[in-house]
């Protein structure tokens, strides 16, 4: 069943508006998606109807908050097919989720951490900085199983990989990678920021130990993300951000730590964000991620067929291997200039620069790329606008 894109678009207030007399063509979804009214209403509901504390207040409003948070956690458990709700830990974003694992996992001198060469800074810097503890960070080629196997030694404690690259949309064969890592006795963490909004990420089928993702890329509010941790894996973590909610009892000299997920959710939480995140997961589940990815592929194919040969494409030419992302350079033009021109000319909003993947661009002696990233509410007509303006830029200015 295909997507009812027109119906979906009605759920997004920003798409009903015009800027400078022109409709918004939002192709910056890999950075942050738009939000449907269902999510916005869910956020407002908290602030309007029960803006109270969760997990500690016994009054009616407090209970409503607990119910809302529990419901959201269940929605996300179902969305990722986690075994237990306790395995879903709310964070402020995926960056925080990865940092929790990097700092809470008891890594010590001589331990090795592996990542790919296409990591976002959020899945690179936390591991890099562990060198102060004597932990070695090494890089393997993206989606190269042989290269991974070559690096897998007994000292490798954890492998943290991006599922789908935010630069070019290519994905790793996660199942194969995870199996190899587990065979080595190491833990595997999946950065699912760019995959979870577009395709099914089944944490049990993949058998990941940890998984991180952000709400703002999958129709949810900004300032909310999650860390999935398999129960066994979570038990290996030592909490390093502690305080309210993370203990059940304390004296002047000791405390009784809570169990996950609360152990890793210190202090008052972003309740509105959590509930909005849950609503976003429900929305995507109802829409069907298979429908979403098929729709995005159709749009990406249209763009690739029209302008794929006129620009320097980042990643493989086959759009099936790039999913929702069309990342490119126009010869002779700076990436930011192209992005600004598209915006000024027709409100086509794309991302430009290094997309927080400076390491990859530096290694390839490139300054960055222009990235058009698609989502469920984008249309063929919007692609036509993008194609037309990009063709003009290529023809006239490059």
């Amino acid at each position: 069943m295909g997507l009812n894109v027109e119906g979906i678009r009605k759920d997004f207030p920003i798409l009903q508006r015009k800027l400078a007399g022109k409709p918004v063509v939002y192709f910056d979804n890999a950075c942050q998606s738009l939000r449907p009214v269902q999510v916005i209403e869910k956020i407002n509901e908290y602030y309007k109807d029960f803006p109270a504390c969760g997990e500690r207040s016994m009054h009616k409003l407090g209970k409503k908050v607990d119910e809302g948070v529990d419901k959201a956690r269940k929605s996300l458990q179902a969305f990722f097919n986690a075994k237990r709700t306790e395995e879903i830990i709310f964070t402020k974003n995926a960056t925080e989720a990865i940092n929790i694992v990097a700092h809470a996992l008891d890594l010590s001198k001589g331990d090795v951490v592996l990542t790919t060469d296409k990591e976002h800074n959020s899945n690179l810097i936390p591991w890099q900085l562990l060198k102060e503890k004597g932990v070695k960070h090494e890089v393997v080629e993206f989606n190269n199983l042989d290269a991974l196997n070559d690096k897998l030694t007994k000292n490798v404690k954890i492998v943290s990989m991006v599922h789908t690259s935010n630069m070019d949309g290519t994905s790793i064969d996660a199942k194969e990678m995870i199996k190899a890592v587990h065979d080595n006795g190491s833990l595997f963490m999946l950065d699912a920021c760019q995959s979870a909004p577009h395709k099914t990420v089944d944490v049990r089928k993949l058998d990941v130990d940890f998984m991180a993702c952000s709400g703002h890329k999958m129709l949810g509010p900004s300032g909310i993300g999650l860390l999935y941790g398999k129960q066994d894996a979570l038990s290996k973590l030592k909490p390093f951000v502690v305080g309210g909610s993370t203990v059940s009892e304390s004296t002047y000299s000791s405390c009784d730590l809570e169990k996950p997920p609360h152990l890793f959710e210190a202090g008052l939480q972003n309740y509105a964000g959590i509930m909005g995140f849950g609503a976003a997961a429900d929305y995507l589940k109802k829409t069907g991620l298979d429908n979403v990815s098929a729709h995005e592929l159709r749009l990406n194919r249209k763009i690739t067929d029209a302008v794929g040969d006129s620009v320097e494409l980042l990643g493989p030419k086959n759009p099936e291997l790039r999913g929702s992302i069309f990342s490119f350079n126009v010869p002779g033009l700076e990436t930011h200039n192209v992005a600004v021109m598209l915006d000024e000319a027709a409100n086509v909003m794309v991302r430009s620069g290094a997309h927080c993947c400076h390491s990859w661009f530096n290694a390839h002696k490139m300054l960055g790329s222009v990235r058009a990233s698609l989502y469920l509410y984008n249309t063929e007509e919007e692609c036509d606008v993008f194609i037309k303006e990009l063709q003009k830029i290529v023809k006239l200015l490059s």
Binding site: V340, D343, E344, A345, L396
Partner: protein, 314 residues
């Protein structure tokens, strides 16, 4: 280079709106870095370039291409123009403060660009003249309208001055509108360097025969033809105009030959100088000045105020 203009524009806008202050700061940073031979850190110039090109892309792709490819040169041109116009503005302001006009002391045919509505004072152009400035009177010069009119408008004009010619249309509109409520006097102020007091002489000779306003209008109408002729040809041209005005030519020629109005014309000119006149046309409306060929509304404002004053007895 565009950052220099951006700095000026955003700095002014920042005075009125806080939202422009970060942009002004960005532009300042960019200018400062470029002045110290470093690359603009904020890429403001690139952003402006792309924004301008992007806007042009939808309207005129060819122009967008031109601007994008030559942005640096265009930026330089705009910066030079900007600095030049800034320098001229300062120079104009200096002249205005010192001489009461924006062109400076050497200007003999120009007019202050400031609207004379606010210029209710004598020009300081002839400040070097000894003695106080003296308001001009109607003297015995040709006049229209009743002597007891509430408003007296004296024009110092030159028949060879294109600005005086331009002002005639407005003068007619003024006279038509105010009728008997205004007395209009025309006084001679031939611009010396041009050597054309013969035209003023002709108008005074015509006045003898009661045909002043006829020749006055014709001299302005034929101004361009007069300007192109000299010597005998010019003399012939003046005679043709006199004939058209219906003058007795023998009487007219005798008058011209006698040059008997030379003193009269010189007196007008000297009276003009004493009043601070430095160019033509200059109007004195009950002593208030209008310099240059100003629009009707400039005259209306002063005349209406003077009429109101007269009605209120003040």
């Amino acid at each position: 280079m565009i950052c220099i203009i951006a700095l000026a524009v955003f700095s002014i806008l920042a005075v009125f709106s806080a939202s422009y202050r970060p942009l002004a700061a960005e532009a300042f940073d960019c200018v400062f870095r470029k002045a110290t031979f470093r690359k603009c850190r904020t890429n403001l110039d690139q952003r402006l370039k792309s924004q301008i090109t992007g806007k042009l892309l939808t309207k005129s792709p060819g122009l967008a291409r031109f601007v994008y490819k030559r942005f640096e040169i265009l930026s330089w041109i705009f910066v030079i123009l900007f600095i030049a116009s800034l320098a001229y503005t300062v120079y104009g302001g200096y002249n205005y403060a010192l001489y009461g006009n924006c062109y400076g002391p050497e200007d003999n045919g120009g007019f202050c660009i400031y609207n004379a509505l606010e210029g209710e004072q004598f020009s300081k152009i002839h400040a070097e003249l000894e003695g106080e400035t003296v308001l001009p009177t109607a003297d015995d010069d040709p006049a229209m309208g009743p002597d007891d009119a509430k408003v007296e408008m004296i024009e110092f004009g030159c028949y060879m001055c294109p600005f005086s010619r331009e002002a005639q249309e407005v003068v007619k509109q003024v006279l038509e509108k105010y009728g008997d409520r205004i007395k209009f006097v025309y006084r001679d102020f031939p611009i010396e360097q041009s050597g054309h007091s013969d035209l003023h002489m002709a108008s005074n000779c015509a006045n003898e025969q009661g045909k002043f306003w006829e020749i006055h209008d014709l001299l302005f109408t034929e101004q361009e033809v007069c300007a192109q002729t000299t010597g005998e040809e010019r003399e012939k041209q003046v005679q043709d105009i006199a004939e058209q005005a219906g003058l007795d030519m023998a009487e007219f020629n005798a008058c011209m030959k006698s040059e008997k109005y030379e003193d009269e014309i010189d007196k007008d000119f000297q009276d003009g100088l004493k009043a601070g006149v430095y160019g033509t046309p200059t109007f004195f409306i009950n002593g208030r000045t209008i310099i240059g060929p100003k629009p009707l509304r400039a005259f209306e404002k002063i005349i209406d105020e003077e009429l109101e004053k007269a009605e209120n007895g003040s």
